[in-house]
């Protein structure tokens, strides 16, 4: 009971904060484009304009179509990243040689913003689906492999020892001990990989898509509709956060709870 009223209180104060933020935004817009004349009206989005734009795009189906298309792309790309990244991660964590030599490389490539790969993508795959997928895959694969490597490295050695003294072979060791022991760490790491994939998708879509959230964003720019640009940005944030919360946070919470690691 106490706890519930606490959360409601917190929620109210968060909403109040947001409302205040919107109010400030509206004030800056009104003053800045009006009496102060700092901006041309078309150069600054207004809360009302963004809401109108959102309503319009929701009404004519653009938003749903764009979101669905983007999500589909990122899911395919992320799935490919999971496969390649897991393989790389296992390679790097099972062999000292690759751990010493390949891991620093992975770390290096990982730090490269995915937009840097766009020229390659266009050169190799042209403008289209394949090049977007390429950017997503290359933008998140290394993060996946590092997440896997990190999670495996931090598995308590005692689990492995215990399993070995019970006669576990290499395969069982990985499948039945190291993997389940690493799972919470893997999920925590994948959250970050997901955000990399989502950002990479936008880099790809902004360059070479004809449909999708990134494309809708750019078409807003082309029509000089700053409200549409802002509206799409909000949707991009929302979708990214929703997937993070609904998918990864839930999975992680479930895994932790099963192991008695959180209440």
């Amino acid at each position: 009971m106490q706890k519930k009223s606490m959360t409601i209180k917190r929620l109210c104060s968060s909403l109040l904060f947001l409302a205040l933020l919107v109010l400030v935004w509206q004030a800056v817009y009104s003053l800045g484009t009006g009496p102060l004349g700092w901006w041309k009206p078309y150069a600054l989005p207004s809360p009302l304009g963004v809401v109108r734009s959102l309503g319009k795009m929701a009404g004519n189906g653009t938003l749903l179509q764009a979101s669905a298309c983007s999500l589909r792309r990122v899911l395919i790309g992320f799935a490919i990243s999971l496969v390649i990244g897991t393989a790389l991660g296992l390679l790097v964590s099972s062999s000292g040689y690759f751990n010493r030599n390949l891991k620093p490389l992975l770390n290096g490539i990982q730090s490269l913003p995915s937009v840097c790969w766009v020229p390659f993508a266009i050169l190799w795959f042209g403008l289209g689906e394949a090049s977007i997928l390429f950017v997503i895959v290359i933008g998140s694969t290394f993060s996946v492999s590092l997440a896997i490597e990190n999670a495996i490295r931090t598995v308590p050695p005692i689990y492995v020892k215990a399993a070995q003294t019970m006669g576990a072979g290499k395969l069982s060791l990985y499948g039945r001990v190291i993997w389940p022991a690493a799972l919470p760490g893997v999920l925590a790491g994948l959250k970050q990989s997901w955000s990399f994939a989502w950002r990479a998708l936008m880099s790809g879509e902004v360059m070479s898509a004809y449909v999708g959230l990134g494309y809708t964003l750019m078409s807003g720019r082309d029509m000089a509709d700053i409200n549409q640009v802002t509206a799409v940005m909000l949707v991009i944030i929302l979708v990214g956060v929703l997937v993070d919360k609904l998918v990864f946070s839930n999975l992680e919470k479930h895994a932790l709870k099963k192991r008695g690691l959180s209440s």
Binding site: A162, T165, L261
Partner: protein, 256 residues
């Protein structure tokens, strides 16, 4: 013939001193041997070598004439920390080793039931590891080790993290199980009292480098009582031996 430890030494990389030097010991089948010594003298190192989790820098260890070259289910280890898997429940944990041995599901279930009942945890078979107490965890680990029915059981201070009452109970359980199954048990402890309670033979290790200081045969009748005169005499004799090794260590013992 059972477990032969022949001139074992172990020096860890990066350290100049030997952790273990020239340890030789033959442990007969069905014996209950306790290894005592001040902390840091190399007891766990020795046990890990027997387990095959570590390789000696000199000498060799043989079980029934075969040289030990890696870990195996014929020498299950029970660690100080329970080392149970938190993603499995009590029953699944106990069945883990038997799965590795590829026993039939029926055999797994019947053995798991038998040993979980033996350690009085059958009612808790569906509990998760974080839902049971420290003593219950060690009992689960014991059941898990016993299920494999190997000839040798290696135990590294398995009860040292538990309260006195639980420890006493588990010692008595272990003694009973040892008498019933006739396993060879190598039991590491820093408590001389525990060693006198359990062992046929007590090996005292000295510190720096770890080598065998003395070996005591303990022929007290079982079950042993830690307030009997004979018990206290044996305990005193061994404590004096260990005491010379490290004074602080002995003091801790008397404080109990």
């Amino acid at each position: 013939m059972a477990l032969e430890i022949k001139n074992i030494s172990r020096t860890f990389e990066g350290s100049k001193k030997e952790t273990l030097r020239d340890i030789s010991l033959t442990i007969e089948k069905g014996e209950f041997v306790c290894i005592v010594g001040p902390s840091g003298c190399g007891k766990s190192t020795l046990l890990n070598l027997i387990a095959g989790l570590d390789t000696p820098t000199g000498g060799e260890i043989c079980l029934d004439g075969r040289k030990i070259s890696g870990p195996g289910a014929d020498r299950v280890v029970m660690f100080q920390e329970h080392a149970l898997f938190p993603w499995l429940n009590v029953l699944e944990n106990v069945k883990f080793g038997m799965k590795m041995m590829k026993l039939s599901e029926k055999e797994q279930n019947s053995r798991a039931e038998h040993y979980l009942k033996l350690v009085k945890l059958w009612e808790f078979k569906n509990y998760r590891i974080h839902e049971i107490s420290g003593g219950m965890r060690q009992r689960t680990a014991l059941a898990r080790a016993l299920c494999l029915d190997g000839p040798v059981l290696l135990m590294d201070e398995p009860f040292s993290a538990l309260d006195k009452q639980t420890t006493n109970k588990l010692r008595a359980d272990l003694e009973r199980i040892w008498e019933e199954t006739g396993k060879t048990i190598v039991f590491v402890t820093h408590s001389v009292e525990e060693a006198v309670f359990l062992a046929n033979r007590i090996v005292v290790l000295s510190d720096n480098p770890g080598c065998i200081k003395d070996v005591f045969q303990v022929d007290l009748p079982r079950p042993r009582h830690n307030d009997a005169v004979e018990f206290l005499e044996v305990r005193h004799k061994i404590l004096t031996c260990v005491e010379r090794e490290v004074e602080k260590f002995a003091k801790e013992e008397y404080d109990h």
